[in-house]
Symmetry: D2
Subunit: 342 residues, 4 copies
Amino acid sequence: MTHKIAILGASGYTGAELVRLIATHPSMEITALGANSKAGQSMAEVFPHLRHLDLPDMVTIEQIDFSAIDLCFCALPHKTSQEVIKALPRDLKIVDLSADFRLRDPAAYEKWYGNPHAAVELQKEAVYGLTEFYRDEIAGARLVAGTGCNAATGQYILRPLIAAGVIDLDDIILDLKCAVSGAGRALKENLLHAELSEGYHAYAVGGTHRHLGEFDQEFSAIAGRAVNIQFTPHLIPANRGILATGYVRGEAQVIHDTLVATYQNEPFITVLPMGEAPSTRHIRGSNFCHIGVVADRIAGRVIVIAALDNLTKGSSGQALQNANLMLAEPETTGLMMAPVFP
Amino acid sequence: MTHKIAILGASGYTGAELVRLIATHPSMEITALGANSKAGQSMAEVFPHLRHLDLPDMVTIEQIDFSAIDLCFCALPHKTSQEVIKALPRDLKIVDLSADFRLRDPAAYEKWYGNPHAAVELQKEAVYGLTEFYRDEIAGARLVAGTGCNAATGQYILRPLIAAGVIDLDDIILDLKCAVSGAGRALKENLLHAELSEGYHAYAVGGTHRHLGEFDQEFSAIAGRAVNIQFTPHLIPANRGILATGYVRGEAQVIHDTLVATYQNEPFITVLPMGEAPSTRHIRGSNFCHIGVVADRIAGRVIVIAALDNLTKGSSGQALQNANLMLAEPETTGLMMAPVFP
Amino acid sequence: MTHKIAILGASGYTGAELVRLIATHPSMEITALGANSKAGQSMAEVFPHLRHLDLPDMVTIEQIDFSAIDLCFCALPHKTSQEVIKALPRDLKIVDLSADFRLRDPAAYEKWYGNPHAAVELQKEAVYGLTEFYRDEIAGARLVAGTGCNAATGQYILRPLIAAGVIDLDDIILDLKCAVSGAGRALKENLLHAELSEGYHAYAVGGTHRHLGEFDQEFSAIAGRAVNIQFTPHLIPANRGILATGYVRGEAQVIHDTLVATYQNEPFITVLPMGEAPSTRHIRGSNFCHIGVVADRIAGRVIVIAALDNLTKGSSGQALQNANLMLAEPETTGLMMAPVFP
Amino acid sequence: MTHKIAILGASGYTGAELVRLIATHPSMEITALGANSKAGQSMAEVFPHLRHLDLPDMVTIEQIDFSAIDLCFCALPHKTSQEVIKALPRDLKIVDLSADFRLRDPAAYEKWYGNPHAAVELQKEAVYGLTEFYRDEIAGARLVAGTGCNAATGQYILRPLIAAGVIDLDDIILDLKCAVSGAGRALKENLLHAELSEGYHAYAVGGTHRHLGEFDQEFSAIAGRAVNIQFTPHLIPANRGILATGYVRGEAQVIHDTLVATYQNEPFITVLPMGEAPSTRHIRGSNFCHIGVVADRIAGRVIVIAALDNLTKGSSGQALQNANLMLAEPETTGLMMAPVFP
């Protein structure tokens, strides 16, 4: 059986990545591509790397007949997404890649995003899309909220440790290094090659990055108490990749054991042998996540590091993984391609 | 039916790229990985990006039972390859990625490579592996010689034009820009990130690059007379990609028509609309080749440009395409993945 | 004696590069920085790498008292520049870095830039700023028109050969590879790191690049007849650098001799030993230009290659070199810094 | 007065950087270049970017007449350096860029470097070369030990805070991002452009990096008790730059005040306004260091970030700054060049 797929926001990087992944999916067919600002253009005009594919032209969202769609990916900007999804049929399966339905609490949403939520009732319905931890809910969900790419990376190393109670909840630091495609196709000076390629820096320093809303929500729920981590993202001169260096307090062997136990049957998450550190070069273009654990020279301190591709496992790959579950397909279908190296 | 595959030279970039591609091939199984210097190691140790795959450990070539192999890829260094292949069973299907069997004339081989050929009889048997132009011979071949990556790119734009007699054979310039993975995993100062990333330069200037042996052989055979082109490769600070800018004399529309007619049914080669130029960013990680034709302001002069990924279409993807033919599989199996962008 | 310097258009890359160079110039002092869109800001806000300097804040052009200025650099966009300069005092020494005064013929200007020139009388007065070839005129000039960065590079290899009559004037191809800072601080998708860093391509293919106006003007004037070259620029994933590969017909030794003779006393231009090719990595951040000559394997064909830094020797360094001449300072003052490598 | 300068180890990156800096120094003249493996070659052969300079050819160290040398820079590998320096005249002024004389305690040296020190008496004599904190000792020193580049960066943010007692000494984390030239011209696979340019990773994780020896020595001396920090370096796909993100406990305003007070008269160190974070793009190629302080959302936690160029302020620029002091020249001579951006 072939599922009919729509992608809204097809002209951004996550939209293009969805098309790339679905292109070789044996049981999905892209039947509608929505991109209001580019309506009327072909995908090949906007993304010439996809010119070999037989795709529908881009249309406005209003032009799409959603009754013929089995599942819709929304890769729209934050805030736009909630308004669009609010107007979509209530029985349409949706995987949203924006931030709009990640936070369950309307007050938290408003705090981090600066505006009241326009679709509070949908917010309640949405399932948080971190596949490995919400698998059953996602399989039965109508609306799944894809996680932030940084938020996913941090959670892969910290959730199991918080859940198992093996680290100090009041002393967690996440120093994250993100490649530039995480910023999307935005036209900003510091994303220009001339400015970024030999320059790197921290941004949203001091706990102002919006993905902290997800960390706070998830970690506090797991712990049954407020957990607030320190989180400093850095923009790195590379295109794809997130490397999250976590500084925690606990016993390295216990932490390693906990992560191994958590992920031993996961198809996409690999815990490296104790003492090894991952590299973004080994996961690029793939849906895999590598995690390493190293004991610090100071007893009781541990470094836990995760690497994944922000556009794949951190965003569009995760979305496809969730869509597979929602459509009762094997979870890994279309996602087992090897990383591209070099 | 699953074909049993061996890869010799699995510890180099083209070997790793073969593994990446075959990993999702539905009817091939890698049953032996040869890499003498790394024998005893797992693929995950040498190439951690392949750690999710269930692969045999690397062994010496002597340890491989070739009677259980349906097809063997040789991704060994030049000169080593001919010595290894000479010792392999004479009925084993082989796709060689080295330069050793590209030139049919032993004298030409010795001229360009500096040593007498050690397997002259095999040299005669080998079929030149430029799939689109040797498809039938490859399908029936036992030993296929993969082309040079630069040589493939140049031939895609020039072969049809020479064959059709639509360009001046005595005035062909090929200015080629090659990414660094084309140099392999060699440890040389000018391949270091610190030296290359902000530095680019021409090399093998003046007609000394060995791929000229292939150009001379092929173009002269097509034309029925000696054809010698000018060829200047440049090393560019990128990892994957070849952009070949050809300067020819003829009529742009005729040239475009000729290329369109040649490639209209080819699954991997796209001729862009007249006047458009290709970019390496649109073919990275894929088996596609984009070709553009632009008329110069000077009447009778035309620029023809091709872009492909040196490791995929220029090397390991081509090899797999040829192997598919040799094993009577559909030619495109395992090769239709979309390019990775950004 | 300290010369008082104004820079208009100080918020672009060439403006910032001027500030960088003048910062260590012993006899120049920057007393006014004009940047209408950023007026009121400090240089440190716009270019934090210049924060250690004691510079005036940016002001509108109208706010500058030009009677207190000895020389004004105009690093404004094309077309804006001619309008601004037209309104400046007629006795103010000006080095213009835009394209507005490079072409002496108003018709040629209109052909290449698409609009009638707004200051035709000044166009006549302007001296073309290719220092090594207009040294005396520049020393006595009031208004000097800085050359295009690509145009400078191409002229360094071709002017002496055309002047000496040692190459075929009807068969000159210039295949140029330009780093991205040559595109300025423009916010365009294909200048984003995510799109450029692993993608390179030809642009303005077929003879449409505006710098051809300069080549046509200069080469025809030297030859005393129309000379039209083929010129194809390529955008390369690097920040600084131009590598121009010229394909000419002549005798390599004669060509090398001609270039050596032309440049033997030039402080910034080095002709490499016969057969060596230059690299952009060896001139980055400096005012030097390296030129190499290699004979092709085809008799009578020669490859001539030049490398320089587009922002320094190709633009702001050239401008300072010209300003030194106009102010009767030693030509090399402030410009002898070594390239930055790696 | 012109000081006669020798550079031993002139064929490495720090040697080349010394030559670049000294090239425009008004009172230093390079009269000997030692590089045993390249003896007999010219600097232009080894580093073509320095070809415009009139430099002596490289010689073996034995060939240098040190009686004619006023100051000698040693940019030799660790361990080699101590053996060479031991054999040099005892009254020769020396700035050593290796790690050999950074640690005052022979046991600490042996612990971090794995071999007994071969010149223990010189070890005692050596002055630690962190200019801003050892200025007077350096001015009177004969032998100055240049600091590690990472060690310098970390100390610039932490020394004043430890000295002032404004941070918790038992909870200091330094997450450092280093560009690849910090690894020198070593031929290693993970320094190849193909492997590094899209891959980044942590190394020496868990407190095994040798620069910890310097941190331990210096911080413990300042505090008057043992201070052991956590330090995790990461290799970033850029050529020049170190960005050190420090996580400390204290009051942000006090910390900012302390840093401002410490560095207010320093020519090369700038403390940014409270809340701003530095970027490596703004210090590249220069001797400047930018420091930023940001309060975390968690009360009592502060992020302090420093950016400098590992080859300049982190190594060769520091060395020249120290040499100026040792030769009674103004400390900033030859070092006030602006950063190169973009």
